[in-house]
């Protein structure tokens, strides 16, 4: 039990590193800093573009309604060093996204982690020092 507690504490210490704010050039002001949401859905578009890449996915809410979520990452040159590419997602992929939502309440947010159905994980770069797992 104590051993497990030690491991949990170590994992807890590691989490803030993985979820540190991005080093982006677009505003933090619209986002609910520190709040985290996790959504699972089907990719409809991966927009590999400037100023920042956008991932669109359809997510079923609690009542079965489909909601189109859009999450941003960073500019392509800032993503490539961390294993991202124009081919990272294709329409139809199932992914689970951890995100920092907008304060406006609209279904948009900043991507903090993407996990594919097969367990592959993409993390953003920037000051978070993200990696591909």
């Amino acid at each position: 039990m104590r051993n497990r507690l030690i491991m949990v504490v170590a994992a807890t210490l590691a989490f803030p590193i993985l979820s540190a704010p991005l080093s982006a050039h677009h505003s933090n002001a619209a986002f609910d800093a520190g709040k985290r949401l996790s959504v699972t859905g089907i990719v409809t578009e991966w927009f590999w573009a400037n100023p920042h890449c956008l991932l669109s996915l359809d997510v079923k809410d609690g009542s079965g309604q489909v909601v189109r979520w859009i999450v941003e990452t960073q500019a392509p040159p800032n993503m490539i060093p961390f294993g991202w590419s124009k081919q990272s997602f294709k329409p139809g992929d199932e992914v689970t996204i951890t995100l920092e939502p907008a304060r406006s309440g609209k279904p948009v947010g900043r991507l903090l982690r993407a996990v594919f159905a097969d367990g592959r994980t993409l993390l953003p770069g920037g000051s978070a020092g993200g990696t591909v797992q």
Partner: protein, 299 residues
């Protein structure tokens, strides 16, 4: 798992965690194919070549050094008294009217009046004070030419002995028969070697529509910028940027303080990174406007 194994595992995770934290705090990011000081720990660099800036240069301590999201590296816009710029009343009014997306006066992206997200030229010196990346220096008998990654921009620093335009607000170039230049996004630049390892460039004649940084720091048309490049050794270059704008600031101030670059392989490919108006419009429609609660349909 034995108790000792569990403790060892926890210690390893904690060490890796704090090692990562140190990297994160340094803002380390690796440009594909580039090398950094961390790759050469314990190895000494050779002597600096005389009067040479030529080559491809990347931030010695990681690619994220140039992002400067919250304003210029030496004076970020974080609200701390030590980072308060020496504004004149006119300069403070200009700063207050700017609505940046970062720094302590940040607004949501959809409400900004930053010229850059709409793909207006970021100009100089913002090209090195925000979202700065790998640079390539070309050196001829009359010019130092700097190629910048962001938006594939370049600028010329004349080294043929010409003077800066005397009146920055109505500049007249020193070369005989040359047409009188107008204030422009990238200004006018001249430079010279002050010793075998130190190159100093001065620039003026700026269009005041550009911002100095991502935090909305302004400049006027009378701004003069001093760039000092010091060739430290065979592998390193230090860059210092000083802003001298008596209309907006009561005294010159340092925006970059000996920022260290590392020389790269001459075959390093500098990535393409363009601001594309159509992509920006889509980004705003799909993301920035909903994030700020702005309704596109009323526009």
């Amino acid at each position: 798992m034995t108790k000792r194994t569990a403790m060892s595992s926890a210690a390893v995770i904690a060490i890796l965690t704090f090692a990562n934290l140190t990297h994160a705090q340094l803002g380390f990011r690796r440009q594909p194919g580039a090398v950094y000081d961390v790759d050469f720990e314990g190895k000494k660099s050779g002597a600096a070549p005389r009067r040479s800036l030529a080559g491809i240069w990347e931030f010695a301590n990681g690619g994220a050094e140039g992002i400067q999201a919250d304003g210029v590296k030496a004076m970020p816009s974080d609200g701390k008294p030590e980072h308060e710029l020496p504004f004149t009343p006119e300069g403070r009014a200009a700063f207050t009217s700017n609505k940046p997306t970062y720094g302590f006066t940040a607004v949501p992206s959809a409400l900004t009046n930053d010229p850059m997200p709409g793909c207006d030229p970021q100009g100089f010196p913002r090209i090195v004070l925000h979202n700065a990346h790998t640079e390539q220096f070309l050196q001829t008998s009359t010019q130092v030419v700097i190629l910048y990654q962001f938006n594939k921009k370049w600028r010329v620093i004349w080294t043929d002995g010409r003077a800066l335009p005397k009146d920055p607000e109505s500049p007249g170039w020193a070369i005989k028969d040359a047409p009188p230049p107008e204030p422009r996004w990238w200004g006018y630049s001249v430079g010279k070697w002050v010793d075998d390892y130190t190159f100093v460039a001065e620039s003026n004649g700026f269009d005041d529509r550009t911002w100095l940084d991502n935090a909305g720091r302004p400049h006027s048309t009378v701004m003069r910028v001093v760039e000092t490049y010091r060739r430290v050794d065979a592998d390193h270059l230090e860059k210092t940027i000083t802003i001298d704008d008596p209309k907006f600031y009561t005294r010159p101030w340092v925006a970059l303080d000996r920022l260290r670059y590392r020389l790269q392989s001459p075959s390093l490919e500098i990535p393409e990174q363009e601001c594309v108006p159509s992509e920006t419009a889509k980004y705003n429609r799909l993301f920035a406007n909903p994030a700020a609660g702005v309704d596109d349909s009323v526009k």
